[in-house]
């Protein structure tokens, strides 16, 4: 069967997305669902800021507030930031290395659906007896004491979506190791591909400890185990270790791809090769490596003893060095360039001072004795929002504008983009800068209210106003997206005019097979090299035009993930006396999952071939068919 065959209708369109194994469509799925959860998390953030707008406010009750902060953190990290970055990794990385797809297209789809069902499961807690309320860190003693099923939604939901992320990580690693086009040596890979590579390695090694911790939590709460039950010999500090052994690398899993996006942007919009490419690559690897050795700096106040605290303090400080290397190399990239202040570039330019501010407060907190004051105060809230919003979210917004044309073939409005940027950027600093001082003035984090006698009123008010600005910025972005897609003005291969890497050498959006002929890579910034040498086609080819092998779509990933989703409900209600059907649901769910796994493994799926003739035909039509139109 040729998938170039014409299919029509809305149903076929939906079915196509449900069964797709095409990395570009999966990217769009990640973008939409990540974007949706970003809005949900943003709404929760607004509620937090409304509650804290003035002393003694009663907009939210104490219990509800804890649910909202927990879901805000969990949603933003696991269901918004990570999938949005995975969207760009999926959309761009295979194109950057000249591959026709990822190594495991089926698993790519499975990874998405696991994340999706995990996220849905977690958020269903709102409608099924209450959301988790022990903070996104879910410290064990509080989590075990939490009533209702909120915490169970948290542990089971994150377990499922964590499997999805792990699968995505392995997939990207293998793709980069095995599927680079001829000539694409490691040291010619675009920096975004490099950061994808390192972030995936971090996912690979960081998610298992989280999964184990979550399993312990599930066992303790739902199957009467005693890992964290102090009276039964358990120890709650184990959770803290497992969580942060995951949690610290997680921060780098988020920030490294954002670094990658900014690296691309600085080079493109300065029209200049990245300064110190080698140093940037090694700094990325070093950051990833150190990321695993510093987890206990989240636990300075736990009472691990001065030796452990001193060692982890020093290890943490060292991370500032490779991060500094990156900052200076970016500065030197734009130095001597020809800077064009497009929306992606303005985000990148704004990122530098924002992230440096977040970085230096990070070093301050690495000083263990000082951290005794800063830990769990609003200072830390300010710090991590500076790195995550000032780094990751700015990176995601920049990436959205930069890669929108490559993903959708249309260009977001620059004018509205600027409006979004200014609202968001000013709002961001207004919200979080002042929070450093709130922390120093003694305000602990995660408080649902504060007294008028504490002296924190004014700064909290300012912070809330800032949040409103950010919300306006995001709304303008939504308008921008809608208007752009309604106008539907199509763009060419290299809409920014200064693309340097392979993805800009092919149509926007690319045909579903990406490259009719595998390119031959002749250096770093290969498209730029070809352009400068006057090559009209934008690349040289490593093979003659021939038949192309592509994988078949499949609905199995969705069914498999759905099985996990069902099983999670069974586990959730396992101990409830009123729900004797829980065990049956658990078995049915696992049956669906393992059954579809068996079907997948027993049924041969060899993919299909696009013939040379079809490729020539497609090229005549503009070469950007996605297999539907």
């Amino acid at each position: 069967m040729s998938s170039l065959a014409q299919k029509k209708g809305f149903g076929a369109f939906i079915w196509d997305y449900l069964t797709t194994v095409d990395h570009k469509k999966i990217a769009i799925l990640y973008l939409i669902s990540g974007g949706f959860f970003f809005l949900v998390g943003g709404l929760e953030a607004m509620m937090i800021r409304i509650q804290l707008m003035k002393a003694g406010n009663d907009f939210l009750s104490a219990g509800l507030y804890n649910e909202i902060i927990t879901m805000h953190g969990t949603t933003m990290i696991f269901l918004a930031a990570m999938p949005l970055l995975l969207a760009f990794m999926n959309a761009v990385m295979p194109l950057q290395i000249g591959a026709r797809d990822v190594a495991f297209p089926f698993l790519n789809s499975l990874g998405f659906w696991l994340f999706f069902f995990g996220g849905i499961f977690l958020n269903l807690s709102w409608f099924m007896g209450g959301a988790p309320d022990a903070g996104w860190t879910n410290y064990a003693s509080l989590a075990l004491a939490s009533e209702g099923h909120g915490i169970d939604f948290y542990s089971l939901g994150l377990t499922i979506s964590g499997f999805g992320t792990l699968i995505a990580g392995i997939n990207f690693l293998v793709t980069i190791i095995n599927m680079r086009a001829p000539g694409m040596t490691y040291m010619r890979m675009p920096l975004f591909t490099w950061t994808t590579f390192v972030a995936s390695a971090l996912i690979l090694l960081a998610f298992p400890p989280l999964t184990i911790g979550l399993f312990f939590m599930v066992f303790d709460r739902l199957f009467d185990a005693n890992f964290f039950v102090v009276e039964m010999g358990g120890n709650t500090i184990i959770w803290e270790h497992l969580f942060w052994i995951f949690g610290h690398p997680e921060v780098y899993i988020l920030i490294l791809p954002a670094f990658g996006i900014f690296s691309e942007i600085f080079a493109i919009f300065s029209r200049k090769r990245l300064f110190g490419y080698t140093a940037l690559v090694f700094a990325t690897i070093l950051i990833g490596f150190y990321g695993f050795m510093v987890w206990a700096h989240h636990m300075f106040t736990v009472g691990l003893g001065p030796t452990a605290n001193a060692v982890f303090a020093l290890a943490t400080m060292i991370i500032a060095v490779p991060t500094g290397i990156k900052i200076f190399n970016w500065l030197l990239t734009i130095w001597g360039g020809s800077i064009s202040f497009t929306v992606p570039m303005i985000y990148a330019v704004a990122f530098i001072p924002s992230f440096v501010a977040g970085g230096v407060t990070g070093v301050m907190q690495a000083m263990a004795p000082l951290d005794y004051q800063l830990h769990d105060s609003y200072f830390i809230v300010a710090h991590f929002h500076y790195v995550i919003v000032g780094g990751v979210v700015l990176g995601i917004l920049a990436g959205t504008h930069l890669y929108w044309p490559k993903m959708f073939g249309t260009m977001l409005s620059e004018k509205l983009g600027m409006i979004t940027f200014w609202f968001f950027f000013i709002g961001f600093h207004l919200t979080f800068f002042i929070q450093h001082f709130l922390g120093l003035m003694g305000m602990p984090r995660r408080v649902y209210t504060f007294g008028a006698d504490q002296g924190w009123d004014l700064f909290n008010m300012i912070s809330s106003v800032g949040a409103l600005f950010m919300a306006i910025g995001v709304l303008v972005l939504l308008v921008n997206v809608v208007l752009t897609q309604v106008k539907n003005v199509r763009v060419g291969n290299d809409p920014w005019g200064d693309g340097r890497t392979l993805e800009w050498a092919i149509p926007s959006p690319p045909p579903f097979y990406n490259f009719a002929q595998t390119p031959l890579v002749r250096g770093l910034d290969t498209y730029w090299i070809e352009k400068m040498e006057g090559n009209k086609e934008g690349m040289v080819y490593a093979e003659p035009l021939g038949d192309v092998h592509m994988p078949n779509g499949s609905i199995i990933p969705l069914i498999m993930s759905f099985g996990m989703f069902v099983a999670a409900f069974g586990a959730l209600y396992f101990l409830d006396d009123t729900k004797p059907w829980a065990l049956a649901v658990l078995i049915i769910g696992l049956g669906i999952t393992f059954g579809s796994m068996l079907v997948r493994s027993l049924k041969d799926d060899l993919g299909f071939h696009i013939t040379k003739e079809e490729l020539i035909e497609d090229a005549k039509r503009g070469g950007n068919t996605d297999g539907l139109k």
């Binding site: 190594a103 792990l166 392995i170 095995n178 690979l204 184990i212 005693n226 890992f227 039964m232 041969d604």
Partner: protein, 208 residues
């Protein structure tokens, strides 16, 4: 890839598991998965060591009092032997000798089932002594660590059986060779984990 292509011992490649791009991808991907599995078990081991012998004040169960080495030593030998028989199977896979491969895999599965049976007997024995999953922090950590390994054994056996049944009629080709290879690799990994469990849980438990 052509499933109908017939291979002989001569035309069969030296490394069938990595002869195709799909095979290569699976090979690298599986090693990475094993890296993740290693971290998983490392977390379980660390937790076990932290909670070893910990229980409520009245708990009388300790590793030294509970574990008995002879049975576990027998289990270890059986699993190690099954690793060896899976090596033979892979040797025949590389020589394109399908029947011999199936035979050795069959022996591997039998040994694995014996191991699993003994493990179930062992767990059952502990439960009868009053040492169940919910008895103490120690018991939860023990059953989770060893039980997770047991679940891996079960999955490995199911994988072997599914492959053997599915391919019993059509023999080896470039599509299923990587699958056999990876199942065997997985089996070795399980075996290595058991060696650590034997050392850390049982030997150090009884002696240390």
């Amino acid at each position: 890839m052509d499933l109908n292509k017939r291979y002989t011992a001569q035309s069969w490649p030296d490394h069938p598991e990595t002869a195709t791009l799909e095979g290569k991808n699976k090979f690298v991907g599986f090693w990475l998965l094993l890296a993740a599995e290693t971290v998983t078990f490392a977390s379980l081991f660390a937790t076990y060591l932290a909670l070893k012998d910990r229980g409520p004040d009245a708990s009388e169960f300790t590793a030294a009092g509970l574990f008995e080495l002879p049975l576990v030593f027998a289990m270890t030998m059986i699993l190690l032997t099954s690793s060896l028989t899976s090596v033979y199977a892979m040797h025949h896979m590389k020589n394109h000798n399908f029947k011999a491969m199936q035979a050795w895999l069959g022996i591997t599965v039998l040994l694995g089932l014996t191991f699993l049976g003994l493990e179930i007997y062992e767990f059952n024995h502990y439960v009868h002594l009053g040492f169940g999953f919910t008895t103490s922090a120690f018991s939860s950590a023990f059953f989770t660590l060893v039980g997770t390994h047991g679940a891996h054994v079960l999955f490995g056996l199911s994988w072997f059986i599914a492959l053997m049944v599915r391919n019993s009629k059509r023999g080896l080709n470039m599509y299923n060779a990587p699958k056999f290879y990876l199942a065997a690799l997985y089996w070795h990994f399980i075996d290595v984990v058991w060696v650590f469990i034997f050392t850390v849980v049982y030997l150090m438990g009884v002696i240390g």
